[in-house]
């Protein structure tokens, strides 16, 4: 075999190799994506909790007093730049009081490596256990609603837990209780989802995590 031929041959092999590599990489990755999609579909149909409660926010009734935010901070003492609940406002006069949405498909729980998140089967509340959290920050990227924050003092995530402890003793969450106009309420998602959703004013598509929160825009 002449040297020239050898080189030409190996170059052809090289191109073939490159193509092969590309295809293998593409094919190798595809099933993961497909797998993932299947997983989500399965979750949507089977892994639903027995019941799912959620928030409802009636924009027309809200007087923007921020009582909901204040009572939450007073009760749980979160640092001001890592809020559990916020009153979002724009300059067109729109508002939205929002916390963690206790999603039906919580992205936070899916990515957290230490299983700090758990979703209660009895009511669908997503609770974060700060004592387990290593503070890797993965959930901060995964949650589309900016609900989890890492507290500076502890280095652990904290977020709204729907006052599950109060709910277990028969009373409601503080924010809902304090709202003077009943703009912020709670209910069973079976009924709430008949009345609306959370796809509003630039918010991320509710298809990502299936949030348990609806907004009733003002007329």
């Amino acid at each position: 075999m002449s040297p020239n031929k050898r080189v030409a041959l190996s170059r052809r092999n090289l191109i073939k190799g490159g193509l092969l590599l590309g295809t293998v990489a593409a094919i190798g990755i595809m099933p993961i994506k497909v797998l993932k999609a299947e997983e989500t579909v399965k979750e949507n149909t089977t892994a639903k909790t027995k019941k799912q409660i959620g928030f409802s926010y009636d924009e027309g009734k809200c007087i923007k007093c921020e009582s909901c935010v204040r009572i939450c901070q007073e009760t749980y003492q979160w640092e001001s730049d890592t809020p559990w609940r916020r009153l979002l406002k724009n300059d067109k006069g729109n508002a939205l009081s929002m916390s963690c949405n206790h999603c039906a498909d919580p992205a936070c729980a899916k990515v957290c490596p230490v299983k700090a998140y758990s979703k209660r089967d009895s009511d669908g509340i997503v609770i974060h256990d700060a004592s387990k959290c290593v503070g890797c920050g993965y959930c901060l990227y995964a949650c589309p609603y900016h609900a989890p924050h890492i507290q500076k003092k502890t280095g652990a995530v904290s977020k709204c837990h729907f006052c599950y402890n109060l709910q277990d003793t028969g009373s409601g969450p503080r924010c809902v209780g304090v709202c003077p106009t009943k703009a912020l309420t709670m209910g069973d998602m079976k009924e709430l989802s008949q009345k609306g959703n959370l796809d509003y004013k630039g918010l991320p598509s509710s298809k990502i995590t299936n949030p348990s929160m609806i907004i009733i825009p003002k007329a």
Binding site: P113, K115, V134, C136, G137, P144, G155, K201
Partner: protein
């Protein structure tokens, strides 16, 4: 929003680099990098320490885990988390690569099952560094199945470069196999194609407008200088041109088979080749940093 920065970028880079180095030596050992090769050892030796060092760096990016390190052990718990998969893959790879390196060090033949297992885990490690980002739906720019493809090809390329560099300085017998340049040419070309496809997919709109804004940051806005200079020109196009020329001149040298001439060529080619390997590494690190820094959340947290 998250707080990932340099440490994560370096971690992703080192994960791919160590895995790629292992695969470079594996390929050399299997005869894929030419008959006479000096790349069949050093990649194995450096792979586990590099990946282990990367994982170690990651600990400093933790919040509470840094103060209470015993919590880290729980990171093996959640099988639906890609980060947990990564912890398994990395741990397994570090162990197997250390065993393989031990055999190489002792100049003994490692059992084939160890070498192959290591190679599979190396591929998994490289793919994981991309998967970690690709599954995050909250960051549309990352949420692309081409993300792991780009990272795997870049891992192979940087790994081969690092192995060549270290072999140049630490191996006694020096060989310059045309085959290595050819393979590297293929890798760099594939990476350019994969990266182009990655951006094409984003500009096709399939990942929404936020992903496009991230891509704009790289192509034309705040991050465009490192993108074009460090990643595209230094890290990809430069090496592409060099490997292309080398594949050609080697062909010529073979044709004329003028020994003196080709020795001279290979001397000069040797130095440029080292620079080129360095450039590939710079490009690889830049790629990881840019991808991390260009992350924008699917929603910016304000009402429009």
């Amino acid at each position: 929003m998250g707080h990932w920065g340099w440490l994560i970028a370096i971690y992703l880079f080192l994960g791919g680099l160590g895995a790629g180095a292992y695969l470079a030596s594996f390929a050399a050992e299997k005869g894929l990098l030419g008959k006479k090769t000096n790349l069949d050892r050093v990649g194995y030796v450096v792979s586990a320490p590099i990946v282990a060092f990367g994982a170690f760096l990651l600990i400093f990016d933790l919040g509470q885990g840094l103060k209470k390190p015993w919590l880290i052990i729980n990171m093996f718990l959640n099988f639906s988390s890609v980060m947990t998969w990564g912890i398994y893959i990395l741990s397994a790879f570090i162990c197997v690569a250390f065993i393989k390196a031990f055999f190489v060090w002792k100049k003994r033949q490692a059992p084939a099952v160890i070498s192959y297992l290591g190679a599979i885990l190396a591929l998994a490690t490289a793919a994981y560094t991309g998967m970690l980002l690709a599954v995050v739906e909250g960051i549309p720019f990352w949420n692309s199945y081409l993300m792991p493809v780009v990272f795997v090809v870049s891992a192979l390329s940087t790994g081969l470069s690092l192995t060549s560099l270290i072999a140049h300085f630490f191996e006694k017998h020096q060989v310059h196999e045309v085959r290595v340049s050819q393979i590297h040419l293929g890798l760099v070309a594939t990476e350019i194609v994969a990266l182009a496809a990655f951006f094409a997919l984003i500009y096709s709109g399939s990942q929404g407008t936020i992903a496009k804004i991230s891509a704009n940051m790289l192509l034309t806005e705040s991050l465009s200088i490192p993108f074009w200079l460090l990643l595209i020109i230094i890290g990809l196009v430069g090496p592409l041109a060099f490997y292309l020329l080398q594949a050609r001149s080697n062909k010529k040298a073979l044709l004329t088979s003028n020994d003196q001439n080709s020795a001279l060529n290979s001397e000069r080619g040797g130095i440029v080749s080292l620079l080129c390997d360095g450039a590939v590494l710079v490009g690889g690190l830049t790629l990881r940093c840019l991808i991390i820094f260009a992350a924008l959340p699917v929603w910016n947290g304000i009402l429009s």
